[in-house]
Amino acid sequence: MAKKGDWVQVHNIVLRPEERSNALPEDTQKHPLEMWVKGWLQNDAEIGEEVEIITRTGRHTTGTLVKEAPYFEHNFGVLVPEVLKIGDMVREITFGGNK
C-alpha cells in the first residue's frame, strides 16, 4: 500500500496500436505508445490502481500506479575485458609499454 504523499511512478497508454501514426515500422505499430511519469501520490493506493499525482512542475496528472519509491539502478555494467586491452594496446604502441 502506497500512502498519500509518497513519491511514486505512474503509467499510461498514450496511444493504442490502432491510434498510432501510420508511418511506423510494423514491429512498433503493434505496440501501444506508453508513458511513465513520477510525482507525489494524492491518495493511498495499491499497485495497479488508477491514481492522481502531482509532478515536480506541479502538474496534476493521473495514471496506473506501477512503482512506489522509484529509484535509478543503472550502473557501469559488468566487466568488458576488451576495454582494458584497448588501454594496454594504445599505451604499448605510444609509449612502448614497460620497455
Partner: protein, 464 residues
C-alpha cells in the same frame, strides 16, 4: 479538448507559434524558400550579446586541449611527415556537461525574458540536462520528454542516465516508448502548461552554438598563433555543425568543416525491436543523413540547423572505432568522456593521418560521462542484447549485429558520405511538386541550401 493524435497534430502550428514566441510565417518567401538569415537575425542577439548571456550561465570559455599522445598514436599509424596536431574543445566543462549548454541557455534566457513560467523540451540526450540546468538557474519549471524504453520496458542505459541527471536538476521527466508520436505528447504538454518550447532547432539554440566556433578561432590565435585547418563536428540533427561553422565564419576563420556520424545504416530509428540494438542514441547516421536531406523534419516550421549549407565533407565511423578512441582518450590523455561526443574524435584521428604534421585539426566537443553513459556499460548492455563484440577490422561491423573493436588503431577508417547525393535528395525534397513553378529566387535559395552551383541545382531540377 480533443487530445487524439490527429487532433493535436492539426493544432501544431498554433501551439508552436504560441510556445516559441516567434512567427515563422514572416520569413517565408514566395515559392519554396524562406529567408534563413532574417530568421537567424530575428533572435535579436549579436554574437557578443550571446557571449554575455552565456557568461551569465557560466557557459563557454571551455578549455582547448592539445592531445599530444593521441597525435603521437596517429603519427604511428601515418606515413612519415603526416599526422596533424589533434586538439579537443572540452565542452564537458560546461555546467550541464556538454556543448548543448550553449544551445539551451539562449532559449531559457529568452523564455524567461518573455515571461514564460517554464520550458518543455523533447530530447533523450544531453540537451535535456542542459535545459534542466539553465531552467534551474533561471527559476523556471522544466519538463523533459524522452523516448526511453522499448515495448518490454527495457531502457537505454545512456537515456536513463539522462533522466537521472534531469531529475537531479529539478526537472519533471516524461518517459515514452519508441515512436515519433513523442512530438504529439510534447505539443499536448506545451498546450497544457503554456510553457516555452525549448526546441533544439530554433534560431536561439543554433545562434547559441556560434560562440563555440568563434571561441575555437580565438583560442587558436591566442594559444597556437594561427587558425586551425580542419574542425570536425559530430553530426546528428545538424545544429552542432551549423552553429560552429557560422561562428567560425564570424571570426573570419577559413577552417574546413567536416561532419562525422556513427554508421548505423540498416537500423530503423522508429523500430521497437532495434531500439536497444544500437549503442549510440545520437551522433549517428539515423539522424545525420535525414536531417541533412530535410532539416525541416524537426519540431519547428523552419529549422535553424541547416548542415548542408556549411559542410565541406561528411564522413562516417563505426561504433567500435568510437568506443576504441574513447578508451584511448582516457588511457593516453587522462580524459574520461562520454562516447557519443567522441564520434568526431574517431574521425579526426583518421583524417589527421592524411594531413601534414604542422597542420591542426580540432574536435569541437566532449561530453560528460557517468553510469550508463560510458563505454563499459554501453558495451556491457550491447553484449547482453546479443551484439557480437570482438577485436577485428571495423569495416566488417554490421550495425545491430556486431561491434568490432579495431585490432590495431591503424584499422580505424572514415567512410565518405556522397555529399552530392545528399544535395540531390535535399533539392528533390524541397522542390516536391513545384518543379514547373520554380523561379530564379528559388534556384538561388537551393544553391544556398546545398552550398552548390547554379549549374548543379538546375541539373538536379531538370532530372526530377
Amino acid at each position: 479538448m480533443d487530445n487524439s493524435y490527429s487532433a493535436i497534430m492539426s493544432r501544431k502550428n498554433e501551439i508552436i507559434r504560441n510556445s516559441v514566441g516567434m512567427d515563422y510565417t514572416k520569413f517565408e518567401r514566395p515559392g519554396i524558400g524562406f529567408d534563413y538569415e532574417a530568421m537567424m537575425a530575428a533572435t535579436g542577439y549579436t554574437l557578443e550579446e550571446l557571449r554575455r548571456v552565456q557568461s551569465l550561465f557560466s557557459v563557454g570559455n571551455t578549455p582547448l586541449i592539445e592531445l599530444k599522445n593521441l597525435t603521437a598514436l596517429a603519427r604511428n599509424c601515418a606515413k612519415p611527415g603526416k599526422g596533424a596536431r589533434i586538439f579537443i574543445k572540452d565542452e564537458a566543462a560546461n555546467p550541464s556537461g556538454s556543448f548543448k549548454a550553449r544551445r539551451s541557455c539562449t532559449s531559457v534566457y529568452q523564455a524567461k525574458k518573455q515571461g514564460y513560467k517554464g520550458v518543455v523540451t523533447a530530447t533523450s540526450g544531453n540537451y535535456g540536462a542542459a535545459v534542466a540546468c539553465h531552467a534551474a538557474m533561471a527559476g523556471l519549471k522544466c519538463i523533459v520528454v524522452q523516448e526511453c524504453y522499448d515495448s518490454r520496458g527495457v531502457g537505454q542505459p545512456e537515456i536513463i542516465e539522462k533522466a537521472r541527471k534531469c531529475e537531479a536538476l529539478g526537472a519533471e521527466v516524461v518517459q515514452l516508448t519508441v515512436g515519433p508520436e513523442l512530438f504529439s505528447t510534447v505539443l499536448r504538454l506545451i498546450e497544457e502548461t503554456g510553457y516555452f518550447n525549448a526546441s533544439l532547432y530554433t534560431p536561439f539554440g543554433i545562434a547559441g552554438v556560434e560562440t563555440l566556433g568563434y571561441e575555437i578561432a580565438q583560442q587558436f590565435r591566442t594559444k597556437i598563433g594561427r587558425d586551425p585547418d580542419v574542425v570536425v563536428c559530430t553530426n546528428a540533427g545538424g545544429g552542432n555543425l551549423t552553429g560552429t561553422a557560422r561562428g567560425l565564419r564570424k571570426a573570419d576563420c577559413a577552417a574546413k568543416v567536416i561532419g562525422a556520424s556513427v554508421n548505423l545504416t540498416g537500423l530503423h530509428m522508429a523500430s521497437d525491436d532495434q531500439f536497444n540494438k544500437k549503442s549510440f542514441t545520437t551522433g549517428h547516421t539515423g539522424f545525420g543523413v535525414p536531417f541533412s536531406v530535410n532539416p525541416d523534419r524537426s519540431d519547428v516550421p523552419r529549422s535553424a540547423a541547416r548542415p548542408l549549407r556549411y559542410m565541406d565533407r561528411y564522413v562516417t565511423v563505426t561504433q567500435g572505432s568510437v568506443f576504441f578512441i574513447t578508451e584511448a582518450l582516457a588511457s593516453l590523455e587522462g580524459l574520461e568522456k562520454g562516447p557519443a561526443g567522441n564520434t568526431a574524435l574517431a574521425a579526426a584521428f583518421r583524417i589527421a593521418q592524411d594531413m601534414d604534421e604542422d597542420q591542426c585539426i580540432v574536435v569541437q566537443e566532449t561530453e560528460y560521462t557517468g553510469a550508463g553513459k560510458h563505454i563499459n556499460p554501453q558495451l556491457s548492455f550491447a553484449r547482453k542484447n546479443g551484439i557480437d563484440i570482438h577485436f577485428g577490422d571495423p569495416k566488417d561491423e554490421v550495425p545491430g549485429k556486431s561491434i568490432i573493436l579495431p585490432a590495431h588503431p591503424s584499422l580505424i577508417q572514415v567512410a565518405d558520405v556522397d555529399l552530392d547525393h545528399v544535395r540531390r535528395s535535399n533539392i528533390k525534397t524541397q522542390v516536391g511538386a513545384h518543379k514547373d513553378e520554380l523561379t530564379d529566387d528559388d534556384i538561388k535559395y537551393l544553391m544556398e541550401e546545398t552550398n552548390s552551383t547554379e549549374e548543379f541545382v538546375r541539373g538536379v531540377v531538370a532530372s526530377l
